[in-house]
Amino acid sequence: MKKIKKAIILIFAICSFIGAYSQTKMTIRGKVIDQKDKSAVIGATIVESDKTNRVVNGTVTDVNGNFVYEMKNQANTMKVSVIGYQAKVFKPVAGKSIVIELVSTDIELSQFTITSKAKSDNQLTNIEERDNASSRVKVDLMEMKNEGITSAADALQGKVAGLDIISASGDPGSGSQIVIRGLSSMGNNKPLIVIDGIPQTTVPSGFDLSSSDSQDISRMINIALQDIKSIEVLKDAASTAAYGSQGADGVLLIETNRGKMGKVQFDYQYKSSINFQPAAIPMLNGDEYTTLQLEELHNSKGIFDVPNEIAYNRDYKDFYNYSANTNWLSLLTKVGMTNDHYFKVSGGGEKTRYLTSFSYVDEGGTTINTDAKTFSTRVNLDYFLSKKILFTVEFNYNNMKRDQNYVMGLSNGWQTRNVREMAYMKAPNMSVMEYDEKGNLTGEYFNPVTNYQGSGQDYFNPVAVAKLGKNSSDETNLENNFKLKYTFADWLSFRESVSFSFNGTKSNTFLPYDAIGVDWLSYLANRASETNSQSSTFRTESMFAYNVPFKKTDHNMTGTFGWITSQYRSQYTVLESTNSPSSDIQDPAIGGQIIDPPNASSWAKSLRSGLTEKRELSAAFSWNYKYKDRYMLQTIVRADANSAFGANNRWGVFEGVSLGWRFSSEPFLSNCSNWLSESKLRASWGTSGRPPGDAYARFATFESSGSYITNAAIVPVKIQLDNLKWESITSTNFGADLNFFKDHLFVSAEVYRKYTTDIMFPSNNWQGYSIPTSSGYDKLQYYNGGEMKNIGWEFSTAWSIVKTKDWLYKIDFNASQNINTFMKLPDNFVTEKNVSINNGEYPQKIVPGQAMGSFFGFRYKGVYASDADAVAKDASGNIMYDSKHNPIPMTYKGTYLFKGGDAIYEDINHDGKIDLNDAVYIGDSNPTLTGSFGNSIRYKNWDFSFSFYYRLGYDIINMTALNAEGMTGKDNQSKAVLSRWRVQGQEEPGLLPRACMDNPANNLGSDRYVEKGDFIRLNTVKLGYQLGADLCRKLSLQSASFTISARKLLTFTKYTGQDPEVGQDASDPFSIGKDDAKTPVSKVVTISLAVGF
């Protein structure tokens, strides 16, 4: 040890001595001009670098292209560079003015960033990018600047094999769901997002918006798109091990742009988009609806009293209110406009580099009264305190104000219904505005306390609620990072980063009395709510990075060691009140009364609050070895302690090993260099683990249960979890990265296997793992058990077919497949969640050995043409008879006798009874192939590109159709029901069953609604024009470009629902792949203008 120390001191001493000896100054002057037209180049950067290529100092040319510079050391090299020209190294000559001619270049900015292969500061492993032997893909956003995408999730969709991004819905700010390499757990499959090295904290578990998961992901990375330099996706455990437990679902590394040395640069970009919805499912109009209702009632009851609402009775006082032809959906739909302004200032000198950006996005939704306004600003500041110390400050502020439609809570106390859902169901014979008995408008919305369909709460007037109801939120995010990098020596550096982040959200809702049909004293009248939530994170990271200085360059050994602490805290309060004295008093604290809705669960009480704290402590060590630049061995070990676990299972240790072979550098392949460029094979193995989402799940808690007589009562409400442990995932990955023909053709392929053990069932708060109630409880918060396997492959390629000065033609293609299988289920796990098979219900079960997301149900075989046809048949198709030789009638569960016009279901076991035994496997929601392909063409200043995204080989349960084609209730139905069975003996292909009110079996969960989801979508198409360098100079601009692009313009699919892009939400493993989307993803056309000066 002492010897090493001495050696270090000696090396230092020698270095400083040499440095002192050669320290001689020299002044140089010169002029920088364009080689072609000899014009002066303004703002070119002249830098002096020492032997180790570290920038010592520098200057910039003035308006005439002249510069004067005092060199620190004659031995150093000088380099001049400026955007739009090739950089040039020149020899300094003392005392004499030199003229430097620069050659202009058409090199894309993106190519600059690709070729600058630096060790990324964001990584915890200290490996050069080209040496990585684990599975990771980087997407450079500079290429995609102008495509009209509004969030990073959009930018990534289809660009990376194995990354599945699904838009949640078409409402503004509704977010996307990101899945890397399939679902490996029950719920909570969220990749970790790391921005400039700082992991972004997850959503608080006590957060009371049940659907917030996917939204928060997109909001989290909703820093202005233009600020993102690149996104890197880490896929295998060997690469995510560096992020420990947080990275179990993959990691997205996001790097933001930073200031560069040079004169100040201004950039402005304006984007304007039109968002419009694809055509909605056509619904019945008022007349067709009343006819249908009369038919339903007649078929079920025979003779009946015609309700006034559908009787066309002119004497009925509400005749005018029930004789309309209202298209509810079209009244809610609008064309949305989005305006996006982005302004950036960047630049820097020898000591300081800065980048400041401001962005303002005003996004209009495609439903009336929905929009979102986002303002964000970012400051990145790098300050070189000395040669050894780099100090970095990053500041990010983001504010989003959102207006959405009020979401109505239904009278059953736990369901909600939004205005679009309502518009699909609402009787179209009802008018929007109220008429009096004589047919004159009253000026009020038509909102009866009860209407033909049901109560005014459950069947509200969607237009009134959309227009008068309020649902707004104001969210602010603030993040501050301080980073210090101290370079002890060439081979050892230390980094400390401290980051704080804060999120504050306030949301308000208000439902005025006149927006809904209830009486004045109902708890729904003038109901106001206010939710305040805030969360904060404090994180420190201390990391040594070493690079062992070997004498022989054959060996290369690098690595890091360090430790990380993070703590997270979130709290919220909710206040709701009712019956405020006026619709103008919308603050729940003024005038209202606190009334809990009937059947309110504890999480829906009118006053509630919560607080959550989490802490994590980690230590990481990585060691990488490279021999002869060809053989790579990379290892990492990380230990995480998480406060969500008890002391017995608190520490999780995750490790990763990867091997790489850059075979293209082997001597025996040296004669192949004309067609083979840098290529490598990789293999990796690693483990990762997942902690529970709820930080306090392990505690047994005692809560007040009111009082008995006058004594306080307290009862235990949760079981203590002593067995709670890390869910563990082991992944193996083999891959190859191949470059051919001087990097013109790139091919990458991977196969992987992910194996999850001790699956954490389940991760969402309200569900829990069911246990027998004889225990005194009905659930455990979590239960570790069962095993799951994901295997798959990924392939991607990019081919630059033509690459000349004027022409560029590039195609890319990727494909991937993931197969998910439940290998083992916990003992006493109920594989059938729901065995009720009533209308609209699919029996839900999980089968070991089969994929999550398989569908079960009946086989639909059309419609019985007449009553006589509804008889039981044996396996060979012969009619079965009873002892008295009467045909055995076909029944539903032995109770309902099928009649003519009813749906035929296949009687699998031929017992004459349609029941649970006849429910069979009818489909699978897991795609066999997903991926994308694209083309980009550039000719001189013009460029044109398009990309397609595809998902093939999967099924969808079209719940929208199920709800709109059943004809068993009072909800409005789609136009498809116009071709329905009406008279005995009617036989037509594609005929739907008869309309029959409350028919128990006409709309069972069957393959009638299971459809192939396969689609190919034109994801983006873009045409751009870049102003020529000459013209720019004349206009004194750095650059200018104009782009027109469109997103999701065309979709090729046979799916009849709104949108085949259906999310895989694993939080409920029983109901994956159901499409009940009501707002399809809108199509967007964007015009963009960008100037730099």
Partner: protein
């Protein structure tokens, strides 16, 4: 150069210090307790913790009083369904059309109470070690309350489901065994009787604070009443008589006079009351019986038989008849009045401040009289039995009965008297069941008549055949319970 090195070492020391600091503070740093609710680590420290969980058990039991009503009345002959508020689950139980997915097969409320009691029985003794003010006497008294409530829970469970899992330890951690098979009902009750007899002497004689505590918490007398009831159910008539004698020897409990009979229910906690689950709107302790029987949203109405028994047009019952047990709204339109009225006059309903304040009477002295009478008659001590029975009758201004000296005749007379005296108090079905089970189901047919009386005419024949199987008199185990516990076996009556 030297300066440089010093700096390096300084930074190193700082870092070293920082690392050490983190490691030493580690164990505390990671131990985060939730802010809402008490965690087990901080619980079971003082006697007030014990008190609060005992109260939690009472409270939870009391909150289940709607089901106690249904289990005790729905399949009997004193109530009928109301088209306004009745749930389909209730309706199906009344029709004997019961499947294991019927919500009323959910026994979780009972097991919650059992788990709370188990918590107390296991953890209260430990509290004494940390709380010096917690005396032996207090501890034993709390334990006695826990044993009482646990026994009462199992008694309800066995009478409703027959064989159920016997859980005697609390589910404290996920290491507990949650998958417990059924134990024979009689075996459970034998165990409960043992618990009760072992702990009776530790139970309080009285809770001096208020009358509500005296009636609402387990006393020695409550113990005796429960022992008597279980003995009677198990046909241990001597045991029953013995327990009843202890109660009747206690001068604190007297039969109310007939003129104030309705005070049993309003205001309640009468001198006759032995154990009543307490409710008070004021303290947000609301019973379900008001909602189940009031005029607007009722679930149960008096059956035709109840109307025949009570209504002025058909009955001479005055004290307990129309206006007291039932109220007449209009011709042929009657209401259960015990939980709704504040006067025996069919008109004056409870004030809105105490609508849901009516207690759920588990035991009162009249019940004890009739239990003893039943036991005595089965022991062929007919005159003593007649004496007790007629005391109840004379109190209600009814003429004394003279009954033939046969156990069956007495059984019928007592059953009828219980129907009158204890109507709608959650007793009827269990009384009928006791009769049906007695002497190896010798009078099964009478029970079957009652069972099929409620049922739609098309079903009567098939059900009277099927229900000769006594297992059909009990509810099935809930489907989800069977699914989640593979060690449970469904009541064979419900497996087809």
């Amino acid at each position: 150069m030297n300066i440089n090195m010093k700096k390096i070492f300084q930074i190193r020391f700082i870092l070293l210090f920082f690392t050490l600091f983190l490691q030493f503070s580690c164990s505390n740093y990671m131990e985060l307790l939730p802010n809402s609710g008490l965690v087990r680590e901080a619980f079971w420290k003082t006697k007030s913790d014990v008190d609060a969980v005992v109260m939690g058990a009472y409270k939870t039991f009391a909150s289940n009083n709607g089901n106690l009503f249904t289990y005790g009345e729905a399949r009997g002959d004193m109530v009928t369904y109301s088209i306004y508020g009745q749930t389909s689950d209730q309706y199906k139980v009344m029709q004997s059309n019961i499947n294991s997915d019927n919500g009323l097969c959910d026994w979780s409320s009972f097991y919650k109470v059992i788990n709370y009691c188990n918590e107390v029985i296991k953890n209260a003794p430990g509290v004494q070690k940390v709380d010096n003010t917690f005396t032996d006497f207090q501890l034993q008294s709390y334990l006695a309350e826990a044993y009482f409530l646990r026994s009462l829970s199992y008694f309800y469970l066995v009478r409703t489901f027959k064989d159920v899992p016997l859980v005697l330890t609390p589910s404290e951690t996920d290491a507990s065994d949650f998958y417990i098979p059924k134990t024979d009902g009689d075996q459970i009750l034998t165990q409960m009787l043992k618990d009760l007899n072992d702990n009776r002497n530790y139970a309080a004689d009285t809770y001096s604070m208020t009358i509500a505590e005296d009636k609402g918490r387990a006393t020695k007398t409550s113990y005796d009443a429960l022992i008597a009831d279980i003995c009677l159910w198990m046909f241990d008539y001597n045991g029953c008589v013995e327990a009843c004698d202890r109660i009747m020897a206690n001068p604190k409990y007297v039969l109310l006079s007939g003129t104030v009979w309705f005070e049993l229910f309003y205001p309640g906690n009468s001198l006759e009351g032995i154990f009543e689950f307490q409710f008070s709107d004021l303290n947000n302790q609301k019973n379900s019986t008001y909602g189940m029987t009031n005029r607007d949203a009722n679930q149960y109405l008096p059956s035709q038989r109840a109307i025949d028994l009570f209504a002025k047009k058909s009955s001479v019952e005055v004290t307990r008849g129309e206006d007291a047990s039932i109220a007449k709204l209009s011709e042929d339109n009657y209401l259960i009045w015990k939980y709704v009225g504040s006067q025996p006059d069919s008109k004056t309903v409870r004030s809105s401040m105490e609508q849901h304040s009516c207690n759920w009477i588990v035991y009162r002295l009249a019940d004890v009289y009739l239990m003893k009478a039943e036991a005595l008659s089965q022991l062929n001590r007919f005159s003593e039995a007649a004496d007790l029975l007629n005391k109840i009758r004379t109190r209600a201004n009814m003429t004394p009965l003279s009954i033939a000296n046969s156990p069956d005749a007495y059984e019928d007379a007592i059953l009828d008297e219980r129907a009158l005296e204890l109507a709608f108090e959650g007793k009827r079905w269990f009384d009928l069941l006791r009769m049906g089970r007695r002497n190896n189901f010798s009078r099964k047919a009478k029970l079957l008549d009652v069972l099929v009386a409620n049922v739609a005419s098309t079903q009567k024949r098939i059900l009277s055949a099927r229900l000769t199987n006594p297992l059909g008199w009990y509810l099935p185990i809930a489907k989800s319970e069977i699914e989640h516990n593979k060690n449970l076996v469904q009541n064979p009556y419900y497996i087809f």
